[in-house]
């Protein structure tokens, strides 16, 4: 069964289910011979099996169902009446079909079953419209044997019952026959696998029960009998479950998770070890249950993709293009609800690619590309999210046309345009109003309804990115959360109330020494104090995060709370929405917890600040912030432009001051300085946590296995110390992380470089005098690449460029 084609599997599950229904329908039909509804239902089932078996080249199955269908169509059209004999014949046909299905299920083929006798019986019945009882009855009596032969490993249990097909069904009612009477049958049945054939031929539904009860005994028996282990029948290994039931389960698990959080937070205050141990178990079990239930809702993305080849083909055909569709990662799973939600946006993007992206064959060959365009769909998991990429090798987005269009539509001003990067311009296609019906034909780029795509994807907590190279193609990247119902979140406090921020959009947390922003003049007075502080650019608050200006949003302000004098320390949550980063200023950061997202009533949804609400560990309700909406509402976009404007001047000034912060570490007798901008995090790893795998050192970090490098060895020396734990510099780039072990973290210095030399020894880019000592300057990324060239795979050139820029400016 393992190797069985998925289509065949589905066919079996569906057909077996339908057959059970068919049995009931046929019996009901006998009692109510005139029912067109029943006849149609039976006809449809047989017709479906016939069609599919023809398609799958199960010829015997096809021939049986074909004659059966003929008989049924006469009945349906009223050409003949239903008689007990007809019912008999039809039930026989159903039995034969079932035998064939069993054989397919167990051996993958129809086997050497002989269906000819059954076909003959049916044909005979067909040719005797008056239902000459004698002859048909006689024939059917003769036919018992062949039918039996048609079953593999026919059994004693089956033997006397076949003729009683009709009666057998009548007895279905008597399901609750005592287990005692079932017992003997059970043993016999268990002696024969496939059991289903037998079960079918056997007298009544009591056998059905056997199938449910038998597994243990079956297993025993089988184990004794040898190598052919029991297989779970297709119909038994999957069940159809009502989605509503799953939703209910999911909700209940959500409640359980909440209750668990409450118990855990309560138990944390107590000294009771028994309780603490129990809560730990509860914690584990609840997590596993949550995972399990979540899995039941997971479906491969192929469900969605399956219809795309047709869409692409039709579209390509209608516009005279040649497009090849490539799909990678079909079995990537995500939540059913999400699958449903991305259906339209995804189809839209694919249509866009075919329609506007990939060029006509003629145009392609002129551009030196193969005449057939390629559209690639790729799906994969990345750090708890699902990424779906739609890439084409078409014409790409013509930024000139896009900007011209945006100007014409007055979405941006000439002034703004001058300051926009290529990427910003590409992003204009997401602007509402950029695309209207008229622009579809006269703009060669994309953007038809892309704002709707973005809105829909963001509504489910995902994001859309667009990468395009003019002339080379476009990639649209959808990042979707795995599930909607339970998300990890950070709880923060603002004016005494708690809010949850989905971790997905969290980048990092920064402590602000002083929450009170300095006024514009105040900036110079505190120059060089080394305090993390808020500055103003063009009247808007910003924060200098590792040399880059980050627009700030005060949570209380954006929530519309009355203004108060800010004082004391505050925290900055660096958030990412769309492609934009901004800092959200909150009073306090509390903790991270798994929260269950509850939707809000319509009145609150319309406010456009909250993505939902949740119940925290102590039972209080907290609002979940809608990061995307916050970003939009706070006009970080405009702010960014202002910043970009100021930054050019800033950067020059900063370059003169050369005040990038450096992390100074010791490793193998060297003093090494690393630009803080290249340090994602500082950690301490236990020596035992560093393991060996494939000749390299690795460690487990936040659910990932990451490479570990020792800085001392990179510098060609050895660590002089043996320690239980090591300080580690963690470097991340596009979801890839590496750890660099150092001997000691010495200091973080600012503006302390007196003189430096430039030499290029790979990762060491020079040396400088820092705090009166000669210190080597390290490019962490180069060092990691030198030790592990594979680290560069998948990493995005943008990020690297960004880092290099910081670094260059730092080195000047």
């Amino acid at each position: 069964m393992e190797g069985m084609d998925e289509i065949v599997q589905e066919f079996l599950v569906e057909s077996l289910e339908n057959l059970d229904q068919l049995d009931r329908d046929l019996v009901a039909l006998e009692r109510d011979p005139g029912s067109r509804e029943l006849l149609s239902s039976i006809f449809r089932t047989i017709h479906t099996i016939k069609g599919t078996s023809g398609f799958l080249a199960f010829n015997k199955l096809e021939s049986v169902t074909h004659v059966g269908e003929n008989l049924l169509s006469r009945l349906r059209d009223g050409e003949r009446q239903m008689t007990p004999i007809t019912t008999d014949v039809l039930l026989k046909m159903v039995d034969a079909v079932r035998s064939l299905l069993d054989s397919i299920e167990n051996t993958g083929g129809e086997g050497d079953l002989d269906v000819q006798p059954v076909v003959e019986v049916i044909t005979e019945c067909l040719n005797n419209p008056d239902g000459e009882q004698q002859r048909v009855a006689g024939a059917s009596a003769q036919d018992i044997k062949p039918v039996k032969e048609a079953k593999p490993a026919s059994t004693k249990a089956a033997k006397p019952k076949t003729t009683k097909g009709a009666k057998a069904s009548a007895r279905q009612q008597q399901r609750q026959e005592s287990a005692a009477t079932v017992e003997p049958v059970q043993l016999e049945v268990s002696a024969v696998i496939p059991a289903q054939t037998t079960a079918q031929a056997a007298p009544d539904k009591a056998v059905e029960q056997v199938r449910e009860e038998a597994p243990d005994k079956l297993a025993d028996k089988q184990a004794g009998e040898g190598d052919q282990g029991p297989r779970r029948a297709v119909a038994d290994s999957t069940i159809r479950v009502d989605v509503d039931l799953l939703d209910t389960l999911m909700r209940l698990v959500g409640e359980l998770v909440l209750t668990r959080n409450q118990v855990v937070s309560y138990a944390a205050h107590l000294q009771d070890t028994t309780l603490i141990r129990s809560t730990q178990r509860l914690n584990l079990i609840a997590s596993e249950l949550q995972e399990g239930v979540m899995k039941t809702r997971m479906q491969p993305i192929d469900h969605l993709w399956a219809k795309l080849p047709r869409v692409v083909r039709d579209l390509a055909h209608s516009v005279g293009k040649q497009i090849e569709l490539v799909m990678v990662g079909r079995d990537t799973e995500l939540d059913r609800t999400l699958l449903e939600a991305i259906k339209d946006p995804l189809t839209h993007i694919v249509r866009n690619s075919c329609d506007h992206g990939i060029e006509a064959p003629q145009q392609r060959s002129e551009a030196g590309k193969p005449r057939t365009g390629t559209l690639t769909l790729r799906a994969y998991h990345q750090s708890g999210q699902v990424v779906i990429e739609v890439s084409d090798d078409g014409g790409g987005i013509n930024t000139q046309k896009v900007s011209a269009k945006a100007l014409e539509r007055r979405l941006i001003t000439q002034d703004q345009l001058a300051r926009m990067s290529e990427r910003d311009i590409v992003d204009l296609v997401f602007k509402p109003g950029f695309s209207t019906a008229e622009t579809v034909s006269n703009i060669s780029g994309r953007g038809v309804g892309m704002d709707v795509v973005r809105t829909n994807i963001e509504a489910i907590g995902g994001s859309v990115e667009l990468d395009s190279t003019f002339g080379r193609g476009t990639t649209t990247r959808l990042t979707i959360p795995l599930t909607l119902a339970i998300v990890p979140a950070l709880t923060v406090e603002c004016r005494g109330e708690r809010y949850a921020i989905p971790q997905v959009s969290m980048q990092e947390l920064v402590f602000l020494d002083d929450g009170e922003p300095l006024d514009e003049e105040g900036r110079s007075s505190q120059e060089g104090s080394g305090k993390a502080r808020v500055e103003y650019v063009g009247g808007a608050p910003v924060y200098r995060l590792r040399g880059k200006l980050l627009p700030l949003v005060y949570l209380d302000e954006v929530l519309g709370l009355p203004q108060i004098q800010r004082q004391g320390p505050a925290y900055l949550a660096v958030l990412q929405a769309d492609d934009r980063k901004f800092g959200l200023v909150v009073d306090r950061v509390l903790n991270t917890e798994e929260i269950v997202v509850k939707s809000l009533g319509a009145q609150l949804k319309n406010i456009g600040l909250y993505a939902g609400a949740t119940i925290l560990g102590d039972g209080r309700v907290a609002l979940i912030l809608d990061v995307q909406a916050l970003s939009r509402r706070s006009h970080t976009e405009t702010l960014e432009r202002l910043i970009a404007q100021e930054t050019s001047a800033e950067v020059e000034a900063a370059a003169g001051r050369d005040n990038e912060r450096l992390l100074v570490v010791a490793a193998g007798g060297h003093r090494v300085a690393i630009p803080l901008g290249m340090v994602t995090r500082l950690e301490e790893f236990a020596a035992t946590a560093i393991e060996r795998s494939g000749g390299r050192e690795v460690t487990q970090y936040r659910g990932q296995i990451i490479p570990v490098m020792r800085l001392a060895e990179m510098l060609g020396s050895y660590s002089q110390t043996e320690a239980d734990s090591w300080p580690v510099v963690v470097y991340s780039e596009r979801g890839k992380t590496a750890a660099v072990v150092v001997d000691e973290i010495l200091d973080i210095v600012e503006d302390a470089v007196r003189s430096r030399t430039s030499e290029n020894l790979g990762a060491i880019t020079g040396s400088a005098v820092i705090q009166d000592r000669v210190t080597e300057l390290l490019d962490v990324r180069q060092a990691i690449l030198a030790a592990d060239p594979r680290f560069a795979d998948f990493s995005d050139s943008d990020t690297v460029e960004g880092l290099d820029q910081v670094y260059e400016h730092e080195m000047r």
Binding site: L600, Q603, L604, I607, I615, G619, A622
Partner: protein
């Protein structure tokens, strides 16, 4: 003579009621999480056995003066379009049967804003019971 059952409560010493079949339950004052930027009538969100329920202050809806400090409101949880919603009121009264024939349109003395949310009134033993329009109230901004 047909009668209707009303769950009654008071707001600023006035007597109000709503159809008893709309009421899911009545709760004491609950911890209420305020929702910044929400319409003024929305008092916040309460946790009703793991369900997040929007609480609406009926005083605000009807344009009555604010509840005095230290006086905790009661929650009347009603079903609106299949969802639970909490109405904050001052004091809960009993459930009474009112004679449909004593129903009258809202009294003329009722000010404009309030009129919108009152379906009418019942004259009972010299007292006036004002029938709240649950659906309109729930939609109040």
């Amino acid at each position: 003579m047909t009668t209707t059952q009303y769950a009654t409560f008071t707001l600023a010493d006035q007597w109000y009621g709503l159809e008893v079949e709309r009421v899911q339950e009545v709760l004491r004052a609950q911890l209420c999480t305020p929702v910044p930027s929400a319409p003024p009538a929305i008092a916040g969100l309460i946790n009703l056995r793991g369900q997040v329920v929007t609480a609406l202050d009926i005083r605000t809806v009807l344009g009555l003066p604010e509840r005095a400090q230290g006086k905790d409101p009661m929650n009347v949880v009603v079903r609106v379009k299949g969802e639970a919603m909490a109405f904050l009121v001052d004091v809960i009264g009993g459930v009474i049967d009112v004679d449909d024939s004593s129903f009258e349109p809202p009294p003329d003395t009722l000010a404009g804003q309030r009129r919108e949310f009152i379906r009418g009134s019942y004259k009972l033993d010299g007292r006036l019971l004002m029938a709240l329009d649950v659906d309109r109230t729930a939609d109040a901004q």
